[in-house]
């Protein structure tokens, strides 16, 4: 009767410990996400990277800005790979888009001043084409940034595995047979 009661108590205690530890792990996981998960908002061709729903602005990337997304998401390997795709496409989009916009504006200005030459339509059409090409690369860049932050946030949830402790040599206990052998010697 007594042993049955003790068994029931042990089972109850283990049940409580398991449930409490699972809940605690979930809470830690959720807190980590709340405090560290990133998102971005596009802002006139740039990407503002924000931590949390209404959290602080971590940095603004794009349009000749030097903010290093790769460094920000360095803790996750897939996120880092996508950040590299973002960086290369964003740079191309910035350069070509700016050249295109400048050409188009010059073309429009020449056209508005009634100083039409043969180069005016070339400037406008070429400029718009370059802007479209730049916009296409900007879309590719933003998609890569979105994937990068998705992977980064995903890997926040993974438990951080602590390194295994180094094994400590434990002296073997001398057996009775060993003692007898030593005495015989």
């Amino acid at each position: 009767m007594k042993s049955g009661l003790i068994r029931a108590l042990i089972v109850g205690a283990s049940c409580t410990v398991t449930l409490v530890s699972t809940a605690a792990a979930q809470r830690i996981d959720s807190t980590r996400y709340d405090g560290q998960a990133l998102r971005y908002e596009s802002y006139w061709g740039s990407a503002r990277i924000i931590r949390g729903a209404d959290g602080p602005l971590v940095g603004t990337a794009g349009w000749f800005r030097s903010f290093d997304v790769e460094k920000l998401v360095a803790s996750s390997a897939p996120a880092r790979a996508e950040a590299r795709v973002y960086k290369s496409n964003s740079f191309r989009a910035s350069v070509v888009g700016t050249i295109g916009a400048t050409a188009a504006v010059v073309g429009v200005a020449l056209s508005a001043n009634n100083s039409n030459t043969a180069s005016t339509p070339i400037l406008i059409i070429g400029g718009l084409g370059a802007m479209a090409w730049g916009a296409q690369h900007l879309h590719v860049a933003f998609s890569a940034l979105s994937r990068s932050l998705w992977w980064y946030n995903r890997d926040l949830a993974r438990p951080q595995l602590a390194p295994l402790p180094t094994p400590v040599p434990v002296p073997a206990r001398e057996t009775e047979q060993g003692k007898r052998n030593k005495d015989a010697q």
């Binding site: 283990s14 959720s30 998960a37 729903a53 879309h139």
Partner: protein, 154 residues
């Protein structure tokens, strides 16, 4: 048999704990959303596989609210997104069309300069206002997806 009972019970608890943890992780891998833009079209994708679950059409937003109903905060932001996206697109498109018309009109030699300036002012105002609406919409979209993915982990 009576000795086996606590052992079996303990094993069951361990399995239960492991299942909860695994479900939490696979929940994100399979269900977490993200936004991508393909050929200039806004798309919402789900999970590692990147299944397209919603896409924006011409002048209509992706049906975001239907996707994020599980999370109240995400739903609130999704409604803001759907409210701002469409007017933003329409007004920005109107601004671009007006700008095109203004540039075309500027080639007419005897156009009244007041009309020309008014057309430029209207087109830039429409572009600015539409762009601002779209910016608010994209901000809400980003928050909605953030909240939804966050609540997947709870």
């Amino acid at each position: 048999m009576s000795r086996l009972t606590p052992v079996l019970f303990g094993a069951q608890l361990l399995i239960m704990g492991a299942t909860v943890m695994a479900a939490q992780e696979s929940g994100y891998d399979e269900n977490a959303l993200r936004v991508e833009s393909r050929q200039g079209n806004l798309q919402i994708l789900r999970g590692i596989e990147g299944t397209v679950v919603a896409r924006a059409g011409i002048f209509h937003p992706p049906r975001l609210a239907n996707l994020v109903t599980q999370s109240d905060s995400a739903l609130a932001e999704a409604k803001i997104f759907e409210r701002y996206y469409q007017p933003g697109q329409w007004i920005a498109a109107l601004g671009i069309a007006t700008l095109g018309a203004t540039i075309g009109a500027s080639r007419i030699t005897d156009i009244n300069p007041v009309i020309q300036v008014s057309l430029y002012a209207t087109s830039f105002a429409a572009l600015g206002y539409g762009g601002n609406r779209l910016h608010s919409a994209y901000g809400a979209l980003s928050k909605a997806i953030w909240w939804y993915n966050r609540d997947l982990k709870r």
